[in-house]
Symmetry: C2
Subunit: 184 residues, 2 copies
């Protein structure tokens, strides 16, 4: 899938690996983090398959070592276009270490569980703040990019709402158990 993310970005403009990582994190970072260890091998493969071209840039006053600028070829554009109009086969995958723990909190210490829930609410809230602040950045980037950014905000708001509601339910239940034990 990363293959097509890279090809898609290269349709906007030529880029080198480092810049590609930046862009992916800006465009998909709502829900996606990427690593150089995924980008450079992919670029190499795209190059070997003739889907991108590469030119080594000379030093030009910029920081860092010489860059390798990649651009999409006609073959690359073709393959990307083909991919774009195929109905997505695989369903959404949501993998969240917090949620994985959450399901099993019944086995753990209730107090510690609530602590982790509070931490998570804070995390969601700071994420939401950042995303809302960046929303205007996508206003002129085309409808689809903008709508995707909006989805990120919606997703974040939904999670906060759900987790705050969950916290209350859990606390209420704790109180109920306490009263039971106290015989009231």
């Amino acid at each position: 899938m990363l293959k097509y993310a890279i090809l898609g970005l290269l349709q906007y403009t030529d880029m080198h690996g480092y810049r590609i990582k930046e862009h992916i994190e800006r465009n998909f970072g709502h829900m996606w983090s990427i690593n150089y260890g995924q980008i450079y091998p992919n670029l190499k493969k795209l190059y070997n398959d003739g889907l991108v071209e590469m030119t080594e840039m000379a030093q030009n006053g910029e920081k860092g070592p010489p860059r390798k600028l990649y651009s999409i070829t006609d073959k690359g554009k073709e393959e990307f276009a083909k991919w774009l109009e195929i109905s997505p086969d695989k369903p959404m995958l949501l993998r969240d270490p917090f949620l994985m723990k959450f399901v099993f909190f019944g086995f753990g210490d209730a107090k510690r569980s609530l602590e982790i829930i509070d931490e998570q609410i804070k995390r969601y809230k700071s994420d939401l703040k950042r995303r809302k602040k960046n929303l205007n950045r996508w206003e002129n980037s085309g409808t689809y990019v903008r709508l995707t950014a909006e989805l990120g905000v919606n997703l974040n708001e939904m999670f906060i709402k759900w987790l705050e509601h969950s916290k209350q339910e859990i606390e209420n239940q704790e109180t109920a158990i306490f009263h039971e034990q106290a015989g009231t």
Copy 2:
């Protein structure tokens, strides 16, 4: 992460690989799909690390070949408990082949894009129906499991709302472009 999902499930009851897959898909299937190719190697590793025990069951009138029943050891329970109270380190990861295409629909054929969006709305809606129907199944499974199932429903409803709103915006924009071209 799968390692801990398996250990967690084995705290409820002893299971063999096939059954573990069923349970994971029932409990986490809101956003998670699993494959035998992930389960059996994991069970083997858990066994080698002494976190689970295994007994080969004799045939007992049930269908299929002999089962290997796994149960969690004290060492396994310890490691699971330790993991459960550590603050989750990595952020949520949402990987969706549909969303990946959606961001780039600006490069593709608008008509085909709307078709794929319609397919996706249908998929979301049938998922929602199934999840809502199954909600009552978790009513007595403990607060955390039930709340996680509710999250699945919320997530689904949010996506439908977002995608239907997005569709309208895209269609409106298409119409605007048409009027522009027609000079009205």
